[in-house]
């Protein structure tokens, strides 16, 4: 199973948000897409998860095109997108938020198992099950959003800015957790981040986007040591 994106172009009304972007993410790899605000990272993810239409190009997962499909169908087929802005439903309890991805699964025993695993991964969620998601801290919300996605037993995880608005210590913790469960669950991950340093540290591969175009694709390690990337995106 490989995610293959070829010549993908996406328009935001009259504005070209993503221009002729190509990359591959093989099974079990974590690819970090980094770039400044406005580079088109979020738009790219929204298209891959079926929330937005592409203008041209192709994207396929496991040999099957994922463009033009509905987000809910892609989600059920194992492509889970955790959108940015701490994507939890504030009005619902933590328990109900976690239950959303189990609603349509036939095997309820597997859902219970997956839920228990998620609570093991993020014990704080277990303590807050009956609280409303709106009462959680930013880090806890991010854990809830990721936990909800994991209960769907995804194959491909699309993570949009999990570090956004979190304190540095929490960011570190979230990245480490992502790294651990990705390896354990053999997930393929596309991680979109402004926090390029944090993302590249846990990634296998890095893709640098600038104004909608790919400007560099390389192993994460090489990108971390690339002087041009360092000065442009890592700030030192």
């Amino acid at each position: 199973m490989t995610l293959i994106v070829e010549g993908l172009t996406i328009d935001h009304g009259a504005i070209r948000a993503i221009n002729n972007v190509s990359f591959k993410v093989p099974q079990g790899q974590l690819a970090a897409i980094i770039g400044a605000n406005g580079a088109g990272k979020t738009t790219l993810l929204r298209t891959l998860s079926g929330l937005k239409d592409a203008t041209s190009g192709s994207a396929s997962w496991n040999g099957v095109s994922i463009l033009g499909k509905r987000a809910e169908d892609l989600a059920r087929s194992g492509i889970m997108h955790v959108s940015d802005g701490k994507s939890v439903i504030a009005e619902l309890s933590v328990k109900d938020n976690l239950a959303l991805t189990g609603l349509w699964q036939k095997d309820k025993k597997a859902v219970t198992e997956a839920t228990n695993e998620v609570i093991e991964l993020f014990p704080i969620l277990g303590q807050r099950l009956s609280q409303s998601a709106g009462s959680l801290s930013g880090g806890e919300r991010q854990m809830l959003a990721i936990g909800r996605a994991l209960i769907a037993r995804p194959k491909l995880l699309l993570l949009d800015e999990p570090s956004l608005g979190l304190a540095p210590l929490i960011v570190e913790q979230i990245f480490q957790t992502i790294k651990s469960f990705v390896k354990k669950m053999d997930l393929t991950v596309v991680l979109v981040e402004q926090n390029a340093m944090g993302a590249l540290k846990i990634a296998d591969e890095g893709i640098v986007l600038n104004l909608g175009s790919v400007v560099a694709v390389d192993s994460a390690e090489k990108l971390l040591n690339d002087p041009a990337v360092r000065s442009a995106y890592l700030g030192f």
């Binding site: 509905r70 809910e72 994507s87 009005e91 959303l100 609603l103 009462s135």
Partner: protein, 311 residues
Amino acid sequence: MIRQFALPTWGSKMTEFITAILTSLSSGAIYALMALAIVLVWRSTRVINFAQAGQAVLTTYIGYTVIQRTGSYWLALVVAVISGAIIGAVIDRFFMRPIFKRVKSGPIVMIAPVVATLGLLGIIQAIIGFIWGLTNQSIEAPVSTGGYKVMGKVIAFSSYNLLVLVAVAIAMLLLTILFQRTNIGLALRASAYSPEIARLSGIKVDAVRTLGWAIAGASGGLAGMLYIPGYFLYPNAMDLLLVFGFVAAVIGGLESLFGAVAGAMILGFAINFSTTYISQKLFFPTAFIVLVLVLLIKPSGLFAAKKSRGA
């Protein structure tokens, strides 16, 4: 204008007071059904469904026809509620969904669907006119509409009013169970609060939305069958009720089912108490006085959903 009492006794004052409470409850109950119908659609689709008045009156005509054929009010009630659900679902699936697909951006997004429901209201009422004619019909109440006797005086609260209260209470209970205790209810709530997150979680939001329209239609169907026996049945018979339901929904904050019921009860009490104690003429203005007061004091409605902390 204050009503004159010839040396009112405590007894008659008390009777009047209790009657006002009971009638407030039973009229509030019917407003609540309409308010629920409006809130259910608003939550799922972000549209104020003016066609609801037409849908509810259409289902009541269907109920009326069932009564003509079979003589059974109860069968008619069931048929009206079911056909209300079907009509609601059909309208969403074949009318609203295509409109939303076509209208995607610009200021027209907010207006087009609402105007479409207004147009639909006219179309439904015209269809009713073609099928059943424009003359007043009536539906006989299944139980006595004669007021109960309290301390030798007949009060304005009957077995029929009691039936309305009980029926609405049962409907509320079923809705509460559906929304709070079932998986379908969780899907309905999630899709209402955040369609995007629901979608990304694998919930078929479009289907859930159609279900919301169906439940709203059923609620309107019940409202019609409970409301019309005290009045006449004609194509515009539910227009006023739609307005009251809308006002109640806004008082309740438009988002919350509990708020819709509470808003309807506030409205029922305000209308019945102002007409009992001040003037019959206040029937219509009271609704709007309450609406304006609520909007001035708490524009988001009295029971708007609590927002999250921080971001």
